[in-house]
Amino acid sequence: MALDKITTVQGTGVYVPGSDVDTDRIIPARFMKCVTFDGLGEYLFYDVRKHEDGSDKEHPLNDPRFKDATILIAGSNFGCGSSREHAPQAIYRYGFRAVIAESFAEIFFGNCVTLGIPCVVATGDDIKVLAAAVEADPTLAVTVDVDQCRVFFGDQSFTVHVPDSARDALISGKWDPIADLLESADEVSDRMQQLGYSA
């Protein structure tokens, strides 16, 4: 199984402020009643984007200037709450290909990497600068360089943190571990027996 090597993500950004944005806010539970992930993108941040009658609230994702954004910029502890992969799936299917935040919830982070969505950690100050730049010019090209652990925009850049294991997985095209896992099938069978799980 050959996967793309994800070394950089280029696009435009949109800033969704707030800390502790949980998975229920990213994708409200009532939209999880589905047997495939297709179509989840349209419900991303639904309750903060829409009034109960379905009309738009004021929200960065409803702002036409940011409609083509592919890089999501967020606050701290982004993606906390549930382990549901519906949240990263909704983010991916909406069109985002990278997330820059002050920090990420652990399970959410892992789920994103497995989908090939780099999540990079920046300081609150750097995020403010980037958010202001994107607000001033929504067409500003933003590059998340996973390999070099830097974010570039306009003539500015800052360092971001990406845990080594996630970085290696993304840039070597091994972000989806299934190929690796399938390799040791025989050993797993032996160990399953030794541990008393299988006869």
């Binding site: 199984m1 707030g18 800390s19 502790d20 949980d22 229920d24 806010r25 409200p28 539970a29 009532r30 999880m32 009643k33 589905c34 047997v35 495939t36 992930f37 309750d47 109960e52 701290s76 502890n77 906390c80 709450g81 549930s82 382990s83 549901r84 992969e85 519906h86 990263p88 799936q89 919830a105 652990e106 399970i107 892992g110 789920n111 497995t114 989908l115 080594d164 294991s165 996630a166 290696d168 997985a169 070597s172 091994k174 989806d176 571990p177 299934i178 690796d180 896992l181 399938l182 040791s184 099938a185 050993e187 797993v188 160990r191 399953m192 541990l195 799980y197 299988s198």
Partner: protein
């Protein structure tokens, strides 16, 4: 000194296959639990890749989130829910997986069913596409919540890629005061250590209080490890654990039982284990607890005063208090006691077991739910329902004005017809008070123990169960 290993390390070492190229460990997951919400997409991916389920006998399925608790006949009135249950049935059949369907009498919330069937065992690894999987840690298992892609990995290989966690030992010593329950212990721990405090850790709960806890109490605490940020939480196995498991359908019997107990016991943390962190909590400091905000760590004693944003130590904290109070429509500086409630919910994988209903039933006999409050009691599994009904508890709840429902996740989250409407405020024995969690985008949740929910149901407002049920005298004899 210090050569001892924790249970976490022992179980990890026993299940580690090898180091993967990304530095993570390939870990055998002995038991895989699945439900209707996070599994269908994984089966889809499996089919796309042309793969089979590698050890179908190690995966167990049940249906819980979408099951309506007020109707039993299929098709369900919600076509989406109906599609989900049919999909699970089909996948279980196609791949030869044991499925505790509605017709089996064994269906229920996955974290109630696993222990009840004796599938959950000490020294094992368990995973489920559900963040409350740590519940199973009560048995001395290492249990994680996983994403759908990892569900696929487990189906295909019975292994997953994972980075090792650190271990924080949390000791709770002393005697819990009357009216204080396991739920209060975990709400207290989360309020102390924060909703992010456990990131990167497995929590090992121990000390006098845990030694004396029943398995159901241990499950209540382990269940909410994730609300404290810890991906796994566990209690070392002991005689209480083995006694609970003895004779359960999936546990070894006869001679094999003694051998199993011996093996299980050896997994307990060694006395000279050096932990990555240790936290000590006095049982006497734990009070009947409630949340006041929209994150599980925004909680305190029911005697507390709703914080003012100025009390936040950092601007970010001040902002989150402000945001929480605005959403909860609570008045800063006033007591939380006396806050009017609209709905009372007793159930969920945190507090939907026999002992929860028994305890509440003891006190609500002869009392009535306040006018205007909708109160529902939802057993965590069909077996819990049956055990309660055998003891006549259902009638006690009905007489008090509760709806007695069928097993399911119900009002813990909004995937079935049990939902809040508008900005209704719910006194809830569940585990999450996130915005919109209980089905209405403006619905409000206050987390508390089942007895505190009962007190709120009866008085129509957030109340101190110790006062409502005159607990101090009563419990001094226990």
């Amino acid at each position: 000194m210090g050569n001892g290993k924790s249970l976490f390390e022992k179980v990890w070492d026993a299940h580690a296959v090898r180091e993967l190229s990304n530095g993570q460990t390939q870990l055998i997951i002995g038991t895989h639990l699945i439900h209707e919400v996070t599994s269908p997409q994984a089966f889809g991916m499996l089919r796309d890749l042309g793969l089979k389920v590698r050890f179908p006998e190690r995966t167990f399925a049940t249906v819980d989130h979408i099951v309506p608790t007020d109707e039993s006949s299929e098709p369900f009135s919600d076509p989406l829910a109906d599609a989900m249950i049919r999909e699970l049935r089909k996948n279980a059949e196609d791949f030869g997986i044991t499925y505790f369907d509605l017709s089996t009498g064994k269906q229920g919330i996955v974290h109630v069913v696993g222990p009840e069937q004796g599938i959950t065992q000490p020294g094992t690894t368990i995973a489920c596409g559900d963040s409350h999987t740590a519940t199973h840690g009560a048995f001395g298992a290492i249990a994680f919540g996983i994403g759908t892609t990892q569900v696929r990995d487990l189906l295909a290989t019975q292994t997953m890629a994972m980075s090792k966690l650190k271990v924080r030992r949390i000791n709770v010593d002393g005697q819990l005061p009357p009216g204080v329950y396991a739920k209060d212990v975990i709400l207290h721990i989360i309020a102390q250590l924060g909703a992010k405090g456990g990131i990167g850790y497995a929590y090992e709960y121990g000390g006098e209080v845990f030694d004396n806890f029943t398995m159901e109490e241990r499950m209540t605490v382990c269940n909410m490890s994730i609300e404290g940020g810890a991906r796994a939480g566990y209690v070392n196995p002991d005689d209480t654990t083995f006694e609970y498991l003895k004779g359960r359908p999936y546990c070894p019997g006869g001679d094999a039982w003694d051998a199993a107990v011996e093996k299980w016991r050896a997994f307990a943390s060694d006395p000279d284990t050096v932990y990555d962190d240790v936290v000590n909590i006095r049982a006497e400091d734990v009070a009947p607890s409630v949340t006041w905000g929209i994150s599980p760590d925004q909680g305190f004693s029911v005697t507390g005063t709703i914080p003012r944003p100025e009390e936040g130590e950092t601007p970010a904290e001040q902002e989150s208090i402000r945001e929480a109070l605005e959403y909860m429509k609570l008045e800063p500086g006033s007591p939380i006691k006396g806050t009017k409630i609209d709905v009372a919910f007793i159930g969920s994988c945190t507090n939907g077991r026999l002992s929860d209903f028994r305890e509440v039933a003891r006190f609500i006999k002869g009392r009535k739910v306040a006018d205007g409050v909708k109160a529902i009691a939802v057993p965590g599994s069909q077996i819990v329902a049956k055990l309660c009904e055998n003891e006549g508890l259902d009638q006690v709840f009905r007489d008090a004005g509760f709806d007695w429902r069928r097993a399911g996740c119900s009002m813990c989250l909004a995937m079935n017809p049990d939902k809040l409407i508008g900005d209704q405020l719910c006194a809830s024995s569940s585990n999450r008070n996130f915005k919109g969690r209980q089905g209405s985008p403006t619905g409000r949740t206050i987390l508390m123990s089942p007895l505190m929910v009962a007190a709120a149901a009866i008085t129509g407002e957030v109340s101190d169960a110790r006062e409502v049920f005159e607990l101090t005298e009563l419990s001094s004899k226990c």
